[in-house]
């Protein structure tokens, strides 16, 4: 059967040739028959006539042959499509509404699909990405290994390839005398890029030879887009020398354009061998900048105890992934033993002894962005599905109204012998044509809005957004078809029940059911709109609540920026003079009140943590890894942190003075409960030492890492006692900090031209930036809710307009009998109100179901409350009333005489 249909399809493609062949065969047949008759004594004309009779009606033969050589159902659908286009062209307003509404719904679907596809599903652009496995800790985070472990793994695990790399970081890049700029740099093992089986777009990849300390001139491989941007072309970048963190580095190759980084989501500009780590001074875990005993030690990154490299393993088909874990454990065992031997804490030793790993398939690499986007993706998908349901309900109602209005025409068609199936099919085809138009419109809209949507919803990423791939187009066509069919179901069902003779008499013959169905569809739209409004309200209110809370610092008068003296090539002894110069430059700017420095800063997306042991009876169990921050004496007052009790750091807290610490309220509560914490001691080592910290103050909880965190357990130490490199500057101003931003930038730039300052933001801007994804989701939900309300309004309007049309005679009669226009206006508006109430109740039920459903999942915070539900329901009611206003006015202006005469 399938074989026959394939042949039919092939014949359909060459149907013209088949037609010509038949004509030739029939002519041949006719000639031979004529010859036969002539041989039997007939005159030529008579012989020809008889031959024609013998052959039969050739038109019928050609018709039968054509049918056989074609695909009748395709042709029928094509004819229906042409008819549908003609019908739609006759009613441009209706067609534009259908296509426009579907286009918006489909555009939202396509945008969300392309974004989630790029963020969550796209594989790394390397050969056989399915073979890549990430070695993770048991909780799914990438595990870090020392270089020694990686080298053992490379030599002992022969079944696949080992790809090792450090996390990417910001580096300072300079070309000639041009101003220094930031770029994203990453240290990778010499075999990492070739291990991914990448091919250089120009030049060559890194090799293990490049990754040997003292191997020669430092080299780097550049990202394609970065190379093109900097040097005009990939080939032009090869051989160029640039300064990276004040070290001269030669670009030896450019990666293919498709490969942007190991996580597939963010872009890394420069890939350099791990041997450059001490030279470049990056990756603090492998090179303690502040460690005055071993600053920039070339052998530091070779140490077993420094674990800083993530690992992707290529596990070829046929090799079970389970074999990876034992291999990793065997390779890491000597390092773990080495670490354990250095530890004095039994608890830490035990934890380390239980170290285990697993290999998880990671064809897309590993990205922290991805997990952050998962919830946003879920919410967007839910919004889009709701919008599509609403759109389909709306369009279904619109089509039903139009079909009902055409009942006489349909009756004529059916009476003239048009098949009922064909009539129903015409409705479906019309909806599918609209779906196709909507899909084309959606493509245009998405092409236009996609980059903006990506910036809004996935900030900080460099996604490969492919709108024209088979998957997005397939999804678009699939959803458009499904929507088209869904929109046409109700009108087609009504048509299947239409009695032609009854329709010819001007009645619909199916009772009030279609109208009721139309009302149900409108109520469904209103209910979904009410639900979406409630979701948008909830999200917006949640953000407003978060922003209204006191973050624990002064958001309005503090300007902040990030900088990294290590990547700018400053040595340890340069730092104090650097801070002094910056301070002097800032204080010369009018409006600047105070300037302070800290290591990681507020809402900077970086943090520092250290193991800390509280001293005292029974406190061993509370020892653990706690967040800490190194601040100078002016930082707290510059950002407006509040002191609860005790004192701030003072000039007297010098390197020679006993070490002191400030702790957050949450930290104090966690360690010492309700007892007084001032004077308590804690240390970095297991055993008490003279260098233990004494708590001298308690700072109120502040939203240090995320705006949406409740209280972070953090302790602060003084820069004068713990000489860490400062990476965050906070400048307190007398008035609007944005006004001094430009002058401050200039002042810093003039005193330190080689130092790059980035992320110049007030603390208020940092808070909004931190909530950017939530704000984007909330705005999107607001837009969708607004659209939903407009659609529902159109639905109510369309339904009531239809009602008025159908009841015109009745309305005219009522007016003739004395009813006033006001009565009719009130009646139709009341009808709209009833629909609104029905929709609001339905919406309230959906909100209740949503609140119940969301209480079962953990990632959602913005559960709609009662007041939100009421507000949303009122919006739905107002939409129903507004939608009903025009039809009601039309009803009140019916001319009874004209209507009754027309009847």
């Amino acid at each position: 059967m399938a074989f026959e249909w394939l042949n039919r399809l092939a014949d359909w493609k060459r149907r013209k040739a088949l037609r010509a062949r038949l004509d030739e065969e029939l002519n041949f047949h006719l000639d031979r028959l004529t010859e036969d008759f002539e041989r039997r004594g007939f005159a030529p004309e008579e012989a020809r006539r008889r031959a024609r009779r013998e052959l039969g009606n050739t038109t019928l033969v050609q018709e039968a042959h054509r049918e056989r050589a074609g695909l009748p159902w395709i042709e029928e659908w094509a004819r229906d499509a042409v008819l549908a286009v003609r019908n739609l062209r006759r009613r441009p307003g209706y067609a534009a509404s259908m296509v426009g509404m579907l286009g918006v719904g489909l555009a939202a679907t396509l945008t969300v699909f392309v974004l989630t596809d790029a963020m969550l599903r796209q594989s790394l652009p390397v050969p056989r990405p399915a073979e890549l496995h990430l070695v993770t800790t048991p909780d799914g985070q990438p595990a870090w290994f020392s270089r020694a472990t990686i080298e053992r793994l490379q030599s002992e695990w022969s079944e696949g390839t080992v790809v090792a790399y450090a996390g990417d970081t910001t580096v300072t890049v300079q070309r000639g005398d041009a101003p220094a700029r930031s770029a994203r740099g990453q240290l990778v093992m010499g075999s990492a890029l070739s291990g991914l089986e990448l091919q250089a777009a120009a030049g060559r990849l890194l090799t293990p030879m490049d990754d040997r300390i003292g191997a020669g001139a430092p080299v780097a491989v550049a990202n394609h887009a970065w190379a093109v941007n900097e040097f005009g072309s990939a080939a032009g970048a090869v051989g160029q020398e640039i300064s990276v963190n004040r070290q001269t580095v030669q670009i030896v190759g450019v990666l293919p354009a498709a490969f942007r980084g190991f996580d597939g989501v963010s872009r890394t500009d420069l890939f350099m061998p791990t041997a450059l780590q001490p030279l470049l001074g990056i990756d603090g875990n492998a090179n303690e900048f502040s460690s005055d005993d071993r600053p920039n030690d070339p052998d530091r990154n070779r140490e077993n105890r420094v674990r800083w490299l993530e690992v992707l393993l290529r596990v070829p088909a046929g090799v079970p992934a389970e074999r990876v874990t034992p291999a990793v454990e065997a390779a890491a065992a000597p390092d773990i033993q080495d670490l354990i031997s250095q530890m004095s804490s039994p608890a830490e030793r035990e934890t380390l002894e239980r170290s285990t790993w697993r290999a998880v398939a990671a064809p897309a690499g590993f990205s922290y962005y991805r997990s952050a986007f998962t919830n946003t993706g879920r919410m967007l998908t839910a919004l889009v599905v709701s919008l599509l349901v609403l759109t389909c309900a709306n369009l279904s109602g619109l089509m039903l109204v139009r079909t009902l209005a055409r009942h006489r025409e349909m009756g004529v068609r059916l009476s003239l012998g048009a098949g009922r199936w064909r009539t129903c099919r015409l409705t479906v085809v019309e909806a599918l044509v609209c779906g196709l138009g909507g899909a084309l419109l959606a493509l245009l809209l998405v092409q236009w809005t996609l980059p903006g949507a990506a910036r809004l919803l996935a900030p900080g990423t460099d996604l490969a957004l492919s709108l024209w791939g088979s998957a997005p187009i397939g999804v678009l066509v699939g959803v458009a078809t499904a929507c088209g069919v869904a929109c046409a179901l109700v009108p087609a069902w009504w048509l299947s029940r239409l009695q032609p003779l009854v329709a010819l008499q001007g009645a619909m013959g199916t009772g009030r059911l279609p109208q009721r169905l139309g009302r149900v569809l409108v109520a469904v739209q209103l209910a979904v709109a009410v639900l979406l409004v409630a979701v948008a309200f909830s999200l917006g209110r949640e953000i407003a609540d978060v922003l209204a809370q006191d973050p624990g610092y002064d958001r309005e008068v503090t300007l902040t920026a990030r900088f990294d003296p290590r990547t700018a090539g400053y040595e340890y002894e340069d730092l104090e003079p650097l801070y002094a110069r910056l301070k002097q430059a800032a204080e010369a700017v009018p409006g600047v009140e105070r300037i302070g420095f800290s290591a990681t800063g507020i809402l900077s997306h970086s943090r520092s943590a250290s193991t800390i042991y509280p001293r005292g009876e029974g406190l061993e169990a509370l020892a653990g890894n706690y967040q800490n921050e190194v601040i100078d004496v002016d930082f707290a007052s510059a950002v407006g942190l509040r002191l609860e009790r005790g004192r701030w750091f003072a000039e007297t807290d010098s390197a020679e003075a006993p070490p002191v610490a400030l702790v957050s309220q949450s930290f104090a509560r966690k360690m010492w409960g309700t007892t007084e914490v001032l004077g308590k001691r804690m240390g970095f080592g297991y055993e008490p030492e003279d260098s233990d910290l004494e708590v001298v103050g308690v700072v109120s909880d502040a939203r240090i890492n995320r705006v949406k965190e409740d209280g972070v357990e953090i302790f602060y130490v003084a820069r004068s006692q713990f000489p860490a490199g400062m990476g965050y500057v906070a400048v307190r101003t007398q008035r609007d900090p944005a006004a001094v931003r430009a002058r401050l930038k200039d002042a810093f730039g003039s005193v330190e031209p080689g130092l790059v300052f980035g992320s110049w933001q007030t603390l208020g801007e940092r808070m909004e930036s931190d909530l950017r994804s939530d704000i984007a989701s909330s705005r999107l939900a607001g837009i969708v809710a607004g659209l939903a309300l407009i659609l529902a309004m159109c639905g109510v309007g369309g339904s009531l307009a239809h009602l008025v049309t159908l009841r015109q005679k009745e309305l005219a009669l009522r007016m003739a009998l004395g009813a006033t226009p006001q009565t009719l206006l009130r009646d139709v508006l009341f009808d709209g109100l009833r629909l609104g109430v029905l929709g609001a109740l339905g919406g309230a039920a959906l909100i209740g179901a949503l609140a119940w459903g969301l209480s079962l999942i953990t990632w959602w915070n913005a559960t709609p409350s009662f007041s939100v539900a009421v507000g949303a329901a009122v919006c739905g009611l107002l939409a129903a009333l507004l939608g009903g206003w025009l039809p009601a006015r039309r009803a009140s202006r019916v001319d009874p005489q004209r209507m009754l005469k027309a009847d």
Binding site: F3, E4, N7, R8, D11, L18, R21, L22, E24, E25, L26, F28, H29, D31, R32, L33, E35, D36, R50, R53, E54, L55, G56, N57, T58, L60, V61, A64, H65, E67, R68, A69
Partner: protein, 115 residues
């Protein structure tokens, strides 16, 4: 030919069998040849509407039971020649067997004496 007044119409559903059998017996033939052969073998008893043969030939070709190529006829004219495929040979066996069973059944019914 249509000179005999009492000719029989080809039974519905038997055209495939007749075409396949003709091609099996005579080898490649053009449409005119097939029609003539069916009429000749049936002793001019079967009246074939010759035009209906061509859609049937296309159908058999789409089913893969016959194949066709252009060739030169006895009077040196270009004609389309149809031939049986391997699949068609197998099909012919099925059709023949079915026909035998049907005709035996019909014969049995017809031969049954009146009660």
């Amino acid at each position: 030919m249509s000179t005999l007044p009492d000719r029989l119409e080809v039974l519905q559903g038997t055209l495939d069998l007749l075409v396949l059998k003709t091609l099996s017996s005579l080898g490649p033939l053009h449409g005119y040849g097939i029609a003539r052969r069916i009429e000749q073998v049936s002793g001019d008893l079967l009246a074939l509407n010759q035009g209906t043969l061509y859609p049937a030939l296309l159908r058999l070709e789409q089913q893969g039971w016959i194949a066709s190529d252009w060739g030169v006829s006895e009077n040196n004219r270009r004609a389309r020649f149809y031939r049986l495929t391997e699949k068609g040979t197998q099909r012919l066996e099925v059709e023949v067997s079915r026909w035998r069973r049907i005709s035996a059944a019909v014969n049995a019914i017809v031969a049954e004496p009146a009660q």
